[in-house]
Symmetry: C2
């Protein structure tokens, strides 16, 4: 990965050194190919169709938006997983430039056409898994989409995952791609590649976080499902940009077994642990890229809640802090406003003792300070000790919070459980991006 610097005409100069773009992938997971094209759904002429194909049948696990308003491709893909019991899939079709949400019966017909056209053109047995992202409430131009699917399939390539990441972008400024390669106990190599898109539920009438992770490891359906749930809990369910949830959010994990490893079919083996850690790590990198790319964000913020009685309580508090507009504007202003953080802790609904709460602000992800409670004066500063405010050096506090990567650490003083959420600050640029788009 390399750093990505851009300038932005905002009232306050934003330093985007905290934003990364992906390196490329030189060797994709065995047996997978991707093909992309620009069929014309995107007005800017960028690629908007992505087909992912596997030479052999795959196991598939997926989680979908909990929004009651679900897009047609979400409803279709869910029902395909049910019908085929998460196995036997060989293809995914993803389009950007139209979410196919709130599109009624015609929308469902179009999603089915995408699915069936992809599988029939590829000459694979099972209908394709479908994902869409873009504007809500408009029908897809199916002439374009059908032409696009056929064209994308002529370009299938085993190593061009960066083009796949680009074809699913909407308001994303950078493509999002991550890879891990691990050695399994039988000496075989498992290759995991993930792509995703999303920058908050951000664009006017625009939706969606989509993520696809493909691995050539051989993994049983149940185990694959466990790995997915675990990884999503600690990645995509641990980020918050603006608190809004889209109609299309989907994370899908696909395995085709071409690594030829001994089937991972129980959650107690060393290989299970290794693979889960690698997949979680791919998803963590991807979800953090979303936060770094969030519209108008000027900071990447890690919120570490430690000393909780339960992990659920720690996460509830971290989540509440990550949603507070007042905390997020203060961070934008490099204002070490512990009062707003403490207020958010107080209204999180978790039973806490205000007289046991301590708080730090730090540079970076705060992990060292948060869990181990080191107190290195160069990188962190304590503001509250057992509910009592400490004297603070405003200048040094501002110097810490001027960094692109900062952290809030809250110690509840009630136990040993902890949780982390990743979020960004709230800036004038966020408001501009989300209000002035049509004008």
């Amino acid at each position: 990965m390399f750093k990505y610097l851009i300038s932005n005409p905002t009232t306050k100069t934003i330093n985007y050194s905290f934003r990364y773009i992906s390196s490329t992938v030189s060797k994709g997971p065995k047996g997978f190919k991707t093909g992309t094209t620009a069929c014309g759904l995107k007005k800017n002429g960028n690629s908007d169709i992505c087909v992912i194909y596997s030479e052999s049948a795959c196991n598939v696990a997926a989680v979908f938006t909990e929004n009651k308003v679900k897009a047609a491709p979400v409803l279709l893909s869910k029902s395909l997983l049910d019908t085929y019991r998460n196995t036997g899939f060989q293809s995914l079709i993803i389009n950007s430039g139209g979410a196919n949400a709130c599109t009624g019966d015609q929308g469902m017909t179009n999603a089915k056409t995408m699915s069936n056209l992809t599988s029939s053109t590829l000459k694979v047995k099972q209908p394709s898994f479908v994902m869409s992202t873009g504007i809500i409430g408009q029908q897809l131009d199916m002439n374009k989409v059908e032409k696009g699917i056929k064209e994308a399939i002529t370009k299938l390539n085993p190593n061009d995952w960066l083009s796949a990441a680009k074809a699913i972008m909407t308001t994303d400024k950078v493509p999002k791609l991550s890879q891990k390669i691990i050695k399994l106990s039988d000496g075989k190599e498992a290759n995991i590649v993930g792509i995703c898109k999303g920058a908050g539920m951000i664009h006017p009438n625009m939706a969606t976080m989509l993520c696809t992770v493909c691995t050539d490891a051989a993994v049983g359906e149940d185990v694959l499902n466990q790995i997915l749930k675990h990884s999503v809990h600690y990645s995509f369910n641990s980020i918050n940009v603006d608190g809004d949830m889209s109609t299309n959010d989907t994370v899908v994990l696909v395995s085709n077994g071409q690594a030829d490893n001994k089937l991972i079919n129980s959650n107690s083996s060393e290989d299970f642990n290794k693979l889960q850690e690698a997949i979680r790590s791919v998803m963590t990198e991807l979800c953090q890229m979303i936060v770094r790319d969030a519209e108008g964000a000027s900071k990447f913020v890690s919120i570490n809640v430690v000393g909780a009685d339960t992990e659920v309580n720690a996460k509830t508090i971290a989540d509440t802090i990550s949603r507070s507009s007042l905390v997020k504007t203060a961070l934008y202003g490099a204002d070490a406003n512990w009062g707003r953080v403490l207020a958010a802790v107080g209204y999180s609904g978790v039973n806490i003792d205000p007289l046991k709460v301590s708080m730090w602000f730090s540079i970076g992800d705060g992990k060292d300070i948060g869990i181990g409670k080191k107190n290195d004066q160069k990188v962190c500063m304590q503001f509250l000790e057992n509910g009592q405010p400490l004297e603070k050096d405003e200048k040094r506090a501002a110097a810490i919070l001027e960094h692109g990567d900062v952290s809030i650490i809250v110690d509840l003083g009630m136990g040993k459980q902890h949780a982390t959420m990743w979020t960004c600050d709230l800036t004038e640029e966020y408001v501009r991006a989300n209000s002035h788009y049509r004008t």
Copy 2:
């Protein structure tokens, strides 16, 4: 009331014609007096001490912040109400310029000093009810406060409620004052005056919505409590500025019986209904003034959810919409972005049927359209009918949403219950006000 026009150096010109300031009160409720002074807690030299005194003993009902982190005056006032069983009070002391929150034992000692000094100087038996607002985490300068309390008491006046409203302001741009006078069944007149402060939990390290409503009606403690809970539910619990809840929020309702009416001691009389309606109306006006005065707000937005199966579900959905940053930025941009509203309806957690949802945007509070479903083309525009998007005239939609008072109406098509929330838009000015304060 008269309209209040101010200009503001923001990127987008904000029209503040939707913001009101209070008219004065020519005749306060019998037996009450207010005294104010500037003791020096506010750096700008504005008044910051307000004493409210009643010639006779009062019944008092109050609701306090649900934040687990409660300020010393909140803890003290709660315990005074418990000790004296909501009756026998003759005085309230309110300071602005310091919230006395996160101030430890010294903070509690200071709150008690304020309470006891007020009651002893006034020569009344019971300790005074105490409220504070301002910066969190700093001790009050008690030399100033004590001098201020004594001075304010020398200035007690039965009709100067506007000064009282001014003395409790923090980041408020306008004082907030409302009055109703009603005739009771025995021919006696009951006078109700309310003051409040708050502009969201807005200022850096600043907290609090405070509201005091005084009436000379004779009302039993239990009935007073019922009226308070009912009125707060439909007023202060029906507004949302930025979703943050302070450590000091307090609403207090005080009655001294000097109107000499027949004691209102049951909730089934006509007088009960009249009084409750008047008090609810005072609180509704006050809470709407808070939304209109919210930092950076350029619009007053009524969110009407109708056609729900229960009122609780209607309110949950209205509340979810009112918290969506994406909805609030779209309103700022006069963008009729029904997709964002529908997404918020979908993730509210309430079980809805997307194919039964209809939606309108309108000028004003939307009550006519929302409840009666009139469809006057001049003031409103429908965007969604039973989950299907309608053709929309972008120009006319923008013309509707350019108004200062606008409304979103969502019909769930599931029943006859409804609820309303009032909120404001999210603007660049909000971000500036909350991030750049210290710089």
